[in-house]
């Protein structure tokens, strides 16, 4: 599960057993229904010409994004009556990978699917995946117009496996009122880790249960990617250049963990969110002064909270951030559908069309050229706080390793960070333990 997410997590839990029963009975109900509609000669849904293709786009968009994708698809379908698109809601992007893979097993998979960037390497193994390496060099595509981090996220072992669908990054979001109340100067783009730590400590007040910072401490990719940004700033990297050995057990890795330890355990200035749902509510209650978060959270911040956005605090002047680009991935059904799907996704992610999507939803521009279009001013006017995030796209210097075992590596790193934040391990011991685990995962091959 990548941390790049635009809508609040849609939890997919529920009474699983019950749901399975419902699924079974729905299935049984569907048999006669489909039989009937087959018998009535394709009535109801508008007669389709024999040459028409319809492709499906599976997505997890909710709220404004769901509305806007429907608008875009309607525009496409009107202009392309012989090559239409059908939207399929996958129940939430957190489960998109699982849904897609289950679809392959069942022989019922979409032509195009919205997937987290961290799923790319896993899905790259799928034989039905459409290899887009040649397609993206097509003249109309202008592949280099996408931000470098997006292109890297879409590339696995030199193969282009998807088209960027969303890009974001982490910046520092702060509650101005809390800073004023504590008499602390507002953060700026040249803050160091030490400035950040000192401010967080001053902003923390146990008597009012106010915290300087919040860290998502569920051990998931949400825990991991914030650490990765710090690791990279300090000059470290997660794996070696060939992705065959861990490389984070380094002075940089230690510096980053030590900073977390100092803040969470020594200063106790960090609100540790166990489940990823609480921090925003607590921020909205004026109990957290600073967040490291992305543009997807801005729409959930209450109007009563006067907030500012600036770059992440830096280490030796390095303020780089991390981005978790998501992708549209295409899967082959024999015949013309793959080509139709590529055409549609190319259109959907073209600068003009995507800018409309961005203006409607607050998503960041996907392509550099979007920021030169006249509509971009409308975007900035509507979402003034997003400017920092757009500029911050140029501060993305590294990407997560795009390998199939990333989920396991992420899990080991998540555990490492968690054990330090909870004060269960000293930073160096945690590094060593995680180093061993990651080395074992990489040696295991799969």
């Amino acid at each position: 599960m990548t941390a790049s997410r635009t809508a609040p997590r849609t939890r997919v839990g529920g009474r699983l057993r019950q749901r399975r029963t419902v699924a079974v009975s729905t299935l049984l109900l569907l048999i006669p229904v489909t039989a009937c509609s087959g018998g009535s000669g394709g009535g109801g849904g508008g007669s389709s010409a024999p040459t028409a293709t319809t492709i499906t786009l599976s997505h997890g968009y909710t709220d404004v994004e769901a509305k806007e994708i429907a608008v875009q698809v309607a525009i496409w379908n009107k202009a392309n009556p012989t090559s239409t698109v059908k939207l399929e809601f996958n129940g939430g992007n957190d489960g998109a990978l699982q849904k897609t893979i289950a679809g392959f097993t069942a022989g019922n998979y979409p032509d195009a699917a919205y997937e987290y960037g961290s799923s790319a390497a896993q899905l790259a193994r799928q034989p039905k995946l459409v290899d887009l390496t040649d397609e993206v060099t097509a003249p109309g595509m202008d592949w280099s117009d996408f931000y470098p981090s997006e292109r890297q996220a879409a590339t696995v072992d030199g193969k282009v496996v998807g088209i960027p669908a969303l890009v974001d990054n982490l910046a520092l979001v702060y509650n101005k009122k809390l800073f004023q109340a504590a008499g602390v100067a507002l953060p700026n783009a040249s803050w160091t880790w030490q400035d950040f730590r000192t401010a967080a400590k001053k902003l923390t007040d146990p008597s009012t249960k106010t915290f300087g910072w919040a860290y998502i401490n569920d051990g998931s990719e949400d825990t991991v990617w914030r650490y990765l940004a710090m690791l990279w700033q300090a000059g470290g990297s997660l794996l070696n250049s060939t992705n065959t050995k861990p490389a984070f057990d380094s002075p940089a890795g230690l510096a980053a963990l030590q900073q977390l330890y100092n803040m969470a355990v020594v200063d106790k200035s960090v609100y540790l969110d166990t489940g990823n749902d609480a921090y925003l509510n607590v921020f909205n209650s004026g109990k957290i002064a600073m967040l490291w978060t992305g543009p997807w959270d801005l729409s959930s911040i209450l109007p009563s909270i006067d907030y500012g956005v600036t770059l992440l605090p830096g280490y030796n002047g390095d303020h780089q951030t991390i981005s978790g680009p998501d992708l549209y991935m295409l899967f082959d059904h024999s015949g013309p559908r793959a080509a139709a799907a590529f055409k549609f996704i190319s259109w959907l992610t073209s600068a003009k069309v995507h800018l409309q999507f961005a203006i409607a939803t607050g998503d960041l521009p996907l392509r550099k050229s979007e920021t030169t279009l006249p509509g971009y001013q409308t975007f900035l006017k509507k979402y003034p706080a997003e400017r920092v995030f757009v500029d911050n796209l140029n501060n993305v210097k590294n990407v997560r390793p795009n390998i199939a075992s990333y989920a396991e590596i992420s899990s080991a790193i998540g555990e490492m960070v968690q054990s330090v934040l909870l004060g269960q391990s000293q930073p160096q011991a945690a590094l060593d333990a995680a180093n061993q685990k990651v080395a074992a995962v990489l040696a295991g091959g799969s």
Binding site: G13, G14, K209
Partner: protein, 308 residues
């Protein structure tokens, strides 16, 4: 075997010779159920046993693993932890739920104004979705802003990290699931209590037995078959604990709430080691089958004893 005239038990239907037509009608009637159970119950079981001897990432063609997955399983420290957590969970969850359910059923089994309201209140947690329960408990048990810690602090007791603490998280899950299951147990016990003939109780009271004495010495022993059923049912559910973990702690912090089924999920659908996950599922299946057989046997023996 004809029922004797003195036998108070309901008469068993007379056995008559089966004909082919009877057989066909019988099979015809059960076949939808058999088909469904076979398709969605047995086929997956057999399939996952087969899968447990393979390496399968659900994407590329599977390769034969022999007993490799099983050998790996024996040496997997996380699996060992998961088993420990599952056992601790089951050993606390089942008895606590049983006792609370019994006490609640006892309390609900009387004529008081508004009793149906109380019964409803006890049963509501059972029909509340796990996701909602998870969200509610996450906030109740929030270490900093939760009401439970606020109350503990006010009365001078030590507070806890609950879901955030590796030492407390499993117990927080136990508390949450007991809350969710007591209503179910109480409902079953209540039905059992109400099927106990009133004259037995009346006779005991006339003989000078106290109400509490009658409850513990007469009603509770007569509820033995119900208890047997609940023990089996709760144990199976405890061994299959997943939903509550998924919506609250995701197996954390630091694997503190990683139970077997959650670990299976993680291996199969986060890391895509489907073969290895199937191995664990097969092991769990064997354990549950064994425990169920043993428990059913014990329950049957004791209920026969009770009737003797």
């Amino acid at each position: 075997m004809l029922p004797g005239p003195i036998d108070k038990r309901p008469a068993r239907p007379k056995r008559h010779r089966r004909t082919v037509a009877d057989g066909l009608v019988g099979w015809g009637m059960v076949s939808p159920a058999v088909l469904l159970i076979g398709l969605f119950g047995l086929v997956p079981v057999v399939w996952s046993i087969a899968l447990s001897f393979q390496h399968d990432d659900l994407e590329t063609p599977a390769t034969w693993a022999g007993t490799g997955n099983y050998r790996e399983l024996i040496h997997d420290p996380v699996f060992k932890e998961a088993i420990q957590h599952t056992i601790v969970y089951t050993l606390i969850f089942v008895p606590v739920t049983l006792v609370l359910a019994l006490l609640v059923a006892g309390a609900l089994n009387r004529r008081v104004r508004g009793m149906s309201l109380y019964r409803l209140a006890v049963f509501i947690p059972v029909v509340t979705s796990t996701v909602a329960t998870g969200v509610i408990f996450t906030w109740l048990l929030d270490p900093n802003f939760g009401i439970i810690n606020a109350v503990l602090q006010k009365i001078g007791l030590p507070t806890s990290g609950f879901f955030a603490s590796p030492n407390a998280a499993l117990f927080a899950i136990i508390g949450m699931t007991v809350w969710g299951w007591v209503g179910f147990g109480a409902l079953i016990y209540l039905a059992g209590l109400q099927s106990i003939p009133g004259d037995v109780l009346e006779a005991a009271l006339i003989d000078g037995c106290s109400r509490a004495g009658a409850f513990w010495r007469i009603q509770v022993p007569l509820l033995r078959p119900v208890t047997g059923f609940l023990v089996v049912w709760l144990t199976i559910n405890a061994l299959q604990l997943f939903d509550e973990v998924y919506v609250t702690t995701k197996g954390g912090p630091l694997h503190a709430t990683t139970v077997v089924v959650y670990y299976i999920y993680e291996e199969a659908f986060e890391f895509f080691h489907a073969g290895y996950a199937a191995t664990m599922a097969t092991a769990l299946f064997a354990v549950i089958a064994l425990i169920t057989v043993v428990q059913l046997r014990i329950a049957r023996d004791s209920s026969e004893m009770g009737q003797a």
